[in-house]
């Protein structure tokens, strides 16, 4: 195996390092001004993709803080993904690993996660849709769900960021995020904690009907099984059927 000379490797590393952090570097180039074009062009690509992926965070954070975050991310974080459109996901890890720096915006990780979920669910590879029939009894029939979804827990209500300050409302929030089959659009639905556990269990057990799942959760959690709970579950399932997250009942 032929090995590149150390001197050439060093030049390439210095050039790449300069493009990442913009710090002056000693390189044998024709013009320092021309060299600075590389830093500008490279950083603009990264900034553009990140701002396209996180439009809410871009607007919400003070611009100085946002720009510093992007600079620090690109300078300090080794971007691993060869697909540039997936690179913004790595910003979430960076913020999580450097939480102290962003303590004044405690909901930042959740906000980035929520914005990334929209991209991830919109673009996730297609999965086969099981055969299904129209639902007749949504509580007692095994149902077929749309496989293109994520169910995620958040500490801050970042989905309500336009109405309130998420930092003032720390709690447990659950979001069901799914892709409409026909349009490809992504829908967000907030769930109460019990309903999130119920739905998660239901989705993991596609042969079991809603009533059986609810009874099983109530047994293990000490929740009382009553008609009110079943009415709430039925209302949720009907809503999800209308929204086409539930596609139908199993076709045996």
């Amino acid at each position: 195996m032929y090995k590149l000379k150390d001197s050439t490797h060093t030049l390439q590393s210095r050039m790449a390092g300069y493009c990442r952090d913009g710090k002056p570097v000693d390189l044998p180039v024709d013009s320092q001004e021309r060299l600075s074009q590389y830093r500008r062009l490279v950083f603009n690509v990264v900034k553009g993709i990140l701002e396209q992926s996180y439009p809410v965070a871009t607007r919400r954070l003070p611009s100085e803080m946002w720009n510093q975050l992007l600079h620090d991310f690109f300078a300090e974080h080794d971007c691993r993904d060869p697909q540039v459109w997936r690179m913004p996901k790595e910003l979430i890890d960076f913020v999580m690993n450097n939480g102290d720096r962003y303590a004044e915006t405690p909901y930042l990780v959740d906000l980035l996660r929520m914005e990334w979920l929209e991209i991830e669910v919109h673009s996730m590879p297609d999965k086969p849709i099981p055969n299904h029939l129209p639902v007749e009894d949504i509580l007692n029939q095994a149902i077929v769900i749309n496989p293109h979804y994520r169910l995620e827990q958040f500490e801050y209500p970042v989905h309500q960021i336009h109405q309130l300050d998420p930092a003032q409302h720390k709690s447990d929030f659950f979001l069901l995020v799914f892709r409409e089959e026909e349009t490809g659009n992504v829908q967000f639905i907030q769930l109460q904690p019990f309903m999130a556990i119920f739905l998660d269990t239901l989705m993991l057990n596609p042969t079991i009907c809603a009533v059986e799942v609810a009874e099983s959760i109530c047994q293990t959690s000490g929740h009382s099984v009553d008609q009110l709970l079943f009415r709430q579950i039925e209302a949720l399932l009907n809503h999800l059927y209308v929204k086409k997250f539930i596609l139908g009942r199993t076709a045996v």
Binding site: Y2, L4, T8, A16, L27, Y38, K127
Partner: protein, 261 residues
């Protein structure tokens, strides 16, 4: 724009090109769009992340996915940039200039052979635009030619990049083209650029092609076998009629030089 291109009945391009990295593993709306486009048009792919000039190891996991993608979409030509976009295990998502040096030639030739063996197809390497050479010890044309000949790869001749580099570095574009192994050219790129200073052009793919680049293209064609010619436009995309006019202008020049095309 993608949907408009898919819906075109007349005046459609002969083929389309896209970056495989931007379309791999996509489902939903974009997955359906890709399927519709590849069913309608022959496909050529122009990669962004292979980073053939990188000092790093080749990314074999990426290459496995790439091979599968090229096969799935019946990609007729796979091309990449003679540059590097990854270094010290970090992607930069843009094209950095490789030092024009003998050891870099050997390093890249070895990597190209490995990639071509693995993909079981030749790779076409594009001459890239650059704004300053970095630690160059040989001429650019010599650097490109040695790599193409020693690795037995193909050449994607980007005529706009030749024009941009000739302007930025003060050399003669025609002389440069004459020094390349033109019998290895399998594909041509044409694009617009932006002059940002009296002595500097940036290769943006965001403008119309200018006449001097059309002229250089016309001068080059008689020296080549007929090959596909791509009109590149990455942003600042105009109405489809304007793109059609540019495509027609390219077609007119090619049919003049390559009578049977």
């Amino acid at each position: 724009m993608a949907q408009q291109m898919i819906d075109l009945d007349s005046g459609a391009p002969d083929f389309i090109e896209f970056a495989p990295e931007n379309w791999m593993d996509l489902g939903g709306y974009w997955g359906r769009t890709l399927k519709a486009a590849t069913e309608k048009y022959p496909v050529l792919c122009h990669g962004l992340s292979l980073s053939i000039g990188s000092p790093d190891e080749l990314d074999w996991d990426f290459l496995k996915r790439l091979k599968q993608f090229l096969h799935e979409h019946d990609v007729q030509i796979y091309s990449e940039h003679l540059s590097y976009s990854k270094c010290d295990n970090a992607h930069l998502y843009d094209l950095l200039p490789i030092p024009f040096r003998e050891d870099a030639v050997k390093h890249i030739v070895q990597r190209l052979k490995q990639v071509q063996d693995f993909l079981e197809r030749p790779v076409a390497i594009e001459n890239v635009s650059y704004y300053t050479p970095v630690g160059a010890e040989m001429k650019e044309a010599e650097f490109i030619s040695q790599i193409v000949l020693e690795s037995d790869c193909r050449l994607l001749l980007d005529v706009n990049n030749v024009y941009v580099n000739a302007f930025n570095h003060g050399y003669d574009a025609k002389e440069f083209i004459s020094e390349l192994p033109l019998d290895r050219v399998v594909y041509i790129h044409m694009a617009g650029h932006e002059q940002v200073a009296p002595d500097l052009i940036i290769d943006t793919h965001g403008q119309d092609i200018i006449d001097p680049v059309f002229n250089l293209f016309e001068w080059t064609l008689p020296q080549l076998n007929p090959v596909p010619v791509l009109l590149e436009r990455d942003f600042n995309i105009p109405e489809i009629e304007i793109l059609r006019n540019e495509m027609n202008q390219l077609r007119k020049i090619t049919s003049k030089s390559w009578h049977n095309v």
